[in-house]
């Protein structure tokens, strides 16, 4: 059993962030939270995480813009964007996965694991 993965969970809504953190922890992930993209980038500069899970629509910097910024600095770090809007945003290509919030907790965790395993195999290959 490998060391549990650390996920940086980003959302401007505190309730949603709190509950998503709890769900992820329940599925065995280590969770770090940030309430804005700026906050998230600050945490990333001080702490190592395995995956960034960000909400799409946030004030100031959106989830896809955050993904773009992360990919510029930490190209190997997988970014997953969740959204309540079922519309693929133009800059979605910066994210590794775009997923609807309505997929539900079980499906979310499954997809996160898929992304993590891909990321690990990619990094181990290099």
């Amino acid at each position: 059993m490998p060391e549990p993965a650390t996920i940086l969970c980003v959302d401007d809504e505190q309730v949603a962030l709190f509950l998503r953190k709890a769900v992820l922890q329940k599925f065995g992930f280590e969770v770090v939270t940030a309430s804005s993209a700026k906050d998230a980038l600050r945490i990333l500069s001080t702490q190592r995480v395995d995956l960034v899970l960000s909400d799409l629509l946030m004030p100031e910097v959106s989830g896809t813009e955050l993904a773009k910024a992360i990919k510029e600095k930490y190209s190997g770090l997988p970014v997953v964007v969740v959204s309540g809007v079922n519309e693929i945003p133009p800059e979605v290509r910066y994210a590794d996965l775009f997923i609807s919030k309505l997929e539900g907790p079980v499906r979310l965790c499954e997809r996160l694991r898929e992304v993590l395993s891909q990321s690990r195999s990619a990094s181990s290959a290099t």
Partner: protein, 791 residues
């Protein structure tokens, strides 16, 4: 009395013996001897007989011879009777006898010598006889004169009767000119009573202006004896004047001396009137000719006049000279010559001189109807002319020339050309351009109208417009009329019917012409536009719904996720007892249903804005894969012919929808089986066509009815009644047009089978560059398509 007739000799003597001796002496003379013995007896005999000579004795007892002679002489009858006295010579006697000498008197002295007596008596007898003969001759002569006079009188009467009865007035004058006789007609005419005229009464009858001249003329003739003739008016009894030709003819006797004048007066008023009329007519005629010449010169129509049948001399009026570019004195007959200052053409053919209208009219003697000619001047200028000509005939019916009329229609021709050009332009207009009378009768119908309504020009000209088109007016017709009358135009939408019974909506603009008798209508079919607008409204509605859905999705999905997560955590929470966990799981299940519903209904999909590389054959495979079940259910044999990958830049969702529509239609057309063939190939640049990718979808289904064919790409047109939205092909065409491509179809319907082919063509240039970005931004498609893209 004949010469041999005996004459009577009377012997008077109182002595019988003497008487007897005288008887003897005179017996030899052979005459009648009458004896008387007294003066009384002698007188008796004288009275009873014609006595040639009286032999008388002077000395008688009762009455002597001289007394006796006096008595005899007193009687006028016997004044010239010869007397021979017998006496003894006495001087006194001789003197007395001498006194009778002046008559036929002689004497014989006694004694009587018989021979003397005999000779003296015989002298008187001869004298008497001669006198008698003379008298007889004289009588006869007088008788003849009398007879002659009678004859003359009769002849004069006849002449006057004649002169009275000739239609002329007649008169006779003495040598000096004084008129002594007028015919009855003269009196009747002048009204002068026949008993109240003098020889110069004519002076009152002849018109005062002419009297002096007539007098002069007459005087001259009276002197010279020459015939006189003059014409002057004479007054009739009512005071009116008539013109008379008057003649005076001299009448000469056998010696050649002028005895009188015979005159006649002939009423020539009618002749004079006729002459005056002719003169007046001549004047009028001259005026008319002058007028005609003036008219000819100012007439805007060219007039040519050939003065001879050979047309060697032709003159023209001002208009014609201008028309032909000639000076006013130039001979127009030069027309057909090669060195002529102008050339004449009919259609394309140059006319020879003999072919020109005036020349033809003169040559054939027939009217030359209006022909259209072209005149080319030396300057190169061309004029269009309408020409006609007529021959002119002389009094014998022979052609003496011809006259031609030439009307310059260049301006009109030009206008006609312009109008025709405009009409051609009108025909180019896609709008229906119609000209109608105020009562609706169609006068003009352009090509656009033919296309729009399906009625040809020949079919509608002269018919009532609104009857043909079954026009439904949005406002009362009178309102339209009022608008036309007051402002000259009307704009509005009309609903009309095409020839095949389809109702269309047209935007109509009506305008009344300046003369206010015809109306120009320009009608544009806005049915498609209205439907497109409706479709757009629908789309906008959908888009608006999409935007609302996006907002709702965001507002609902966020809390929904939070709640879902909360119940997920709650469901297995160790602090809850069994019942509470069960409730939580129920809530979680219900939540998942809510999530599912919001995903189904509120999830709209907007595609990426950049076109991507895609393969049409792969895309077709995807679509056909999705339809596999339906293809199998309908027992359709599928054939794929991919001669090319059909690689292009594009938006997969759009392209997928195009083929999904076409393939889906093809399958629906064959509910009872058939063949479906899908082919892809690249077309090269040949025959001037544009190279590109061509995809054909061919089915053997029901085919397309010709009446449906033209509406196939219209929005909301569907042959599938409730099943179809009527938007499929319309949207598909819109998508293909974004790639500057086309969708064409061909349907062949046979008795047992039909084949329909839809061919999508994307030009290579556009296939490489993708759809025009301007349209891509508006690309909104439904969730159904979105699902398709994910499948």
């Amino acid at each position: 009395m004949a010469d041999n007739e005996k004459v009577n000799i009377l012997m008077v003597d109182d002595q019988v013996s003497k008487l007897l001796s005288y008887e003897v002496i005179l017996g030899d003379l052979g005459e009648n001897l009458i004896k008387a013995t007294s003066g009384r007896e002698a007188l008796d005999h004288l009275l009873k007989h014609d006595i040639a000579v009286v032999l008388m004795d002077v000395s008688m007892p009762e009455i002597d011879g001289f007394e006796m002679a006096d008595m005899i002489r007193q009687h006028p009858r016997f004044q010239k009777t010869a007397i021979i006295f017998i006496s003894g010579v006495h001087l006194s006697d001789e003197d007395r006898i001498q006194g009778y000498r002046r008559g036929a008197v002689d004497y014989i002295s006694v004694p009587v010598v018989p021979e003397v007596l005999r000779s003296k008596v015989s002298v008187f007898v001869d004298l008497h006889r001669k006198t008698r003969q003379l008298e007889k001759l004289n009588r006869e002569l007088e008788e003849r004169v009398e007879q002659r006079t009678q004859e003359l009188r009769e002849s004069e009467t006849q002449f006057r009767t004649l002169a009275n009865n000739i239609p002329q007035l007649a008169w006779m004058a003495h040598q000096d000119g004084s008129i002594f006789w007028y015919s009855q007609r003269w009196f009747d005419y002048t009204g002068i009573a026949s008993d109240k005229f003098d020889g110069f009464a004519w002076r009152h009858v002849v018109h005062p202006d002419h009297v002096a001249r007539v007098e002069d003329g007459l005087q001259r003739s009276w002197k010279t004896g020459e015939l006189w003739e003059d014409t002057f008016p004479m007054r009739d009894k009512d005071g009116n004047h008539s013109w008379f030709l008057t003649r005076a003819v001299p009448i000469f006797d056998s010696q050649g001396s002028l005895v009188r004048w015979f005159g006649t007066g002939t009423d020539i008023t009618h002749q004079i009137t006729a002459e005056e009329k002719i003169r007046a007519l001549n004047t009028q005629l001259e005026q008319r000719i002058a007028e005609l010449e003036a008219i000819m010169q100012v007439l805007p129509v060219g007039i040519a006049l050939a003065h001879d049948s050979e047309c060697e001399t032709i003159t023209g009026n001002t208009a014609l000279c201008q028309l032909l570019g000639l000076g006013p004195d130039q001979n127009i007959s030069l027309g057909g010559r090669s060195d002529s200052p102008y050339q004449v053409f009919r259609d394309k053919k140059r006319l020879e001189m003999s072919e020109l209208p005036v020349q033809r009219a003169a040559a054939t003697g027939k009217n030359i109807g209006t022909t259209e000619l072209r005149v080319r001047l030396m300057t190169g200028e061309e004029r269009h002319v309408l020409a006609s000509a007529s021959p002119l005939f002389d009094e014998n019916g022979k052609v003496r020339g011809a006259v031609g009329a030439f009307f310059d229609v260049s301006e009109r021709k030009h206008l006609e050309d312009v109008l025709r050009e405009r009409a051609d332009l009108l025909d180019l207009a896609s709008e229906a351009v119609i000209v109608r009378d105020r009562d609706g009768t169609v006068r003009y119908w352009n090509h656009g109208a033919e296309t729009l309504y399906g009625w040809t020009r020949q079919e509608v000209l002269g018919r009532s417009l609104h009857h043909v088109l079954k026009t439904a007016f949005p406002v009362p017709f009178s309102e339209i009329e009022d608008s036309l009358d007051s402002v000259g135009t009307w704009d509005g939408n009309l609903i009309q019917e095409t020839r095949d019974g389809q109702k269309i909506t047209v935007a109509s603009r009506k305008a009344l012409n300046r003369e206010r008798h015809v109306i120009l209508e320009i009608n544009r079919d806005i049915t498609s536009r209205l439907q497109a607008e409706e479709a757009l409204r629908q789309t906008e509605k959908l888009a608006a719904m999409g935007r609302v859905a996006g907002i709702i999705a965001h507002e609902i999905n966020n809390p929904l996720e939070a709640i879902t997560n909360a119940f997920f955590l709650l469901r297995d929470h160790p602090s809850l007892d069994e019942d509470a966990r069960y409730y939580a799981s129920l809530a979680e299940q219900e939540l998942s249903r809510v999530s599912h519903i919001t995903r189904q209904t509120l999830s709209f999909y907007r595609e990426a804005k950049q076109p991507v590389r895609l393969s049409l054959s792969a895309l077709l495979d995807d679509v056909l894969e999705l339809q596999t079940r339906r293809i199998q259910l309908s027992q359709i044999a599928l054939e794929k012919r991919y001669q090319s990958e059909g690689e292009m830049q594009g938006f997969p969702v759009e392209i997928r929808q195009v083929f999904l529509n076409l393939i889906s239609n093809a399958i629906q057309a064959m509910p009872n089986g058939g063949r479906l063939r899908v082919s892809v190939r690249e077309t090269g640049k040949y025959n001037g066509s544009v190279p590109g990718i061509s995809v054909a979808i061919v089915d053997t289904g029901a085919g397309i009815r010709p009446e449906d064919a033209k509406h196939l790409f219209e929005p909301f047109f569907s042959t599938k009644s409730e099943k179809g939205t009527g938007l499929g092909l319309w949207i598909s065409r819109g998508i293909v047009q974004k790639y500057e491509g086309s969708i064409r179809f061909r349907s062949v319907r046979l008795t047992n089978e039909s084949a329909t082919c839809f061919r999508v063509f994307i030009p290579l240039a556009r296939a490489q560059a993708g759809a025009r970005p301007a349209f891509a931004a508006d690309s909104i498609v439904t969730s159904k398509v979105a699902q398709g893209s994910r499948a």
